[in-house]
């Protein structure tokens, strides 16, 4: 969805202004909506991709005006209605007109992270699905403009990059956010040069590493492919020797 949430590279939002001695929460209601949302997700009222999708479906002016936890409040209310767990009337009244849902399957728990039902939010698969790409592969991010939820931001679409890491198999947000299944597939970190993303006046050494699912990527046929050794499931930075070897690899690249 080409939503207003897709902010990377936009101008006009002003400087970043940190708050001195910022508290974790700014009011009691923020605490409650935080804990209720986490609990609801733990109880499988919705999954995290549906939650993000519900936030993105806010009307753009509301999205931009809302604080972070106002967005959470909007999303959890919307999803309770969407999932048939509560009605708009019940939410407005603050009282249940019908008994609790059969849909929430996770335990209520006694709070805290230790008791959190992590199986409810498990998004990574251990099964070995075949990866389409290996570390070192030249790829192009797909140029698409879907109306559904996606985690491929506009700034990267159609841009060329290099696969740096294969993080293993995860659920696919584009389907998972819409009740269309997990569609498990590999997630890679793809490195895009600043110049490729932003144009020649951004020819500074400031690449962006973006995580991309298999379905977001195509092989870059224009690049002279020089496949390297597969580094499947090694979510490991290059380490001390990294910058040097990376620089070496870059020298070999044709721009």
């Amino acid at each position: 969805m080409n939503g207003v949430h897709d902010l990377g590279g936009m101008h006009g939002f002003g400087p970043v202004v940190p708050e001195q001695n910022e508290p974790v929460f700014h009011s009691d209601w923020e605490k409650r909506v935080f804990a209720m949302t986490l609990t609801a997700m733990g109880r499988r009222v919705c999954n995290v991709d549906e939650f993000r999708r519900a936030i993105e479906q806010m009307p753009p002016p509301s999205y931009l005006a809302a604080t972070y936890y106002e967005k959470w409040l909007h999303a959890i209310e919307a999803l309770l209605v969407e999932k048939g767990i509560a009605t708009r009337e019940e939410i407005a009244a603050g009282h249940a007109a019908a008994p609790g849902p059969a849909k929430a399957t996770g335990p209520v728990g006694n709070g805290g992270v230790d008791s959190f039902d992590s199986s409810a939010v498990k998004l990574r698969f251990d099964k070995s699905y075949k990866p389409s790409f290996n570390a070192g592969d030249r790829v192009v991010a797909r140029n698409f403009n879907p109306e559904h939820h996606t985690r491929l931001p506009r700034y990267a679409r159609g841009k060329r990059g290099v696969v740096r890491y294969d993080h293993g198999v995860f659920v696919f947000p584009d389907t998972h956010a819409h009740g269309l299944g997990a569609k498990p597939q590999h997630v890679y970190t793809v490195e895009f040069e600043a110049e490729e993303l932003w144009g020649p006046d951004r020819n500074e050494r400031a690449p962006v590493c973006l995580d991309c699912w298999d379905d977001y990527l195509e092989r870059d046929r224009t690049a002279a492919a020089k496949p390297r050794a597969a580094k499947r499931r090694t979510a490991k930075p290059a380490g001390r020797s990294g910058p040097r070897s990376r620089a070496g690899a870059k020298k070999g690249r044709k721009r």
Binding site: V16, V17, W29, A40, I91, G100, G112, V113, Y155, L197
Partner: protein
């Protein structure tokens, strides 16, 4: 982004008129209790966990150990979630799939989430308002050096590598160990590690900065 109402601990929460979201949240909690979906004591416990137990102090312990123990550093770089759990910090939500990013004399890492506000809760706690702001999310990917200058940070001609957290992987930075810290204990090293240094918008404190701060607060 501050709402200005019932500012933090709510001693005026019961007297002042409830702000619109506060009224909605109160109604929602009552509804979810009646539906059997939440338990108010469990909510209290969850809030307390993120106010007191999970925060950047946890990440500072991880970084200090990585500075002090090369073997731990290797484990952290190979499997961050496991190495973090080694120190007694459970993965919990937003900490299951982790990668530690190592700053070097030639490389500075910066973490952002342009599409929402993904953040490594298990080591840094919940994100500050500025990290979730439109300004940060918009500018981090296309003007990271300008953004860092706004934070008072000049990284010179180092490569600045920006990590846009678009998947369920969560990233945090292992900053470079400050100079003249060879004599410090791991606890003292942890005191130098700031939240911002693990996001990439800051550097660790120097031992003298840390001492001045401790002196000033006494």
């Amino acid at each position: 982004m501050s709402d200005g109402h019932d500012h933090h601990d709510g001693h005026d929460y019961h007297n002042a008129p409830l702000s619109e979201p506060a009224q909605r949240v109160k109604a929602l909690e009552q509804l979810l209790i009646e539906k059997g979906l939440v338990n108010p004591q469990a909510l209290d416990e969850l809030v307390d966990t993120y106010e007191r137990r999970i925060g950047p102090r946890n990440g500072a312990r991880v970084v200090a150990r990585a500075w002090a123990d090369p073997e731990y550093r290797k484990r952290l770089l190979a499997n961050a979630a496991q190495a973090i759990e080694e120190l007694g910090f459970p993965p919990g939500p937003q900490g299951e799939h982790m990668m530690a990013l190592e700053n070097t004399p030639r490389l500075h890492n910066l973490v952002v989430c342009t599409l929402c506000s993904c953040y490594p809760w298990s080591v840094l706690g919940l994100p500050p308002v500025w990290y979730k702001s439109t300004a940060y999310r918009a500018s981090a990917v296309n003007d990271p050096r300008g953004l860092l200058k706004g934070f008072g940070l000049d990284v010179g001609d180092k490569e600045v590598r920006v990590w846009d957290s678009s998947s369920e992987m969560r990233y945090f930075v292992i900053p470079e160990r400050p100079a003249s810290t060879e004599h410090l204990t791991e606890d003292e090293l942890a005191d130098l590690v700031t939240r911002d240094s693990m996001i990439g918008t800051g550097l660790p404190k120097s031992p003298s900065q840390s001492a001045r701060r401790a002196g000033a607060s006494k």
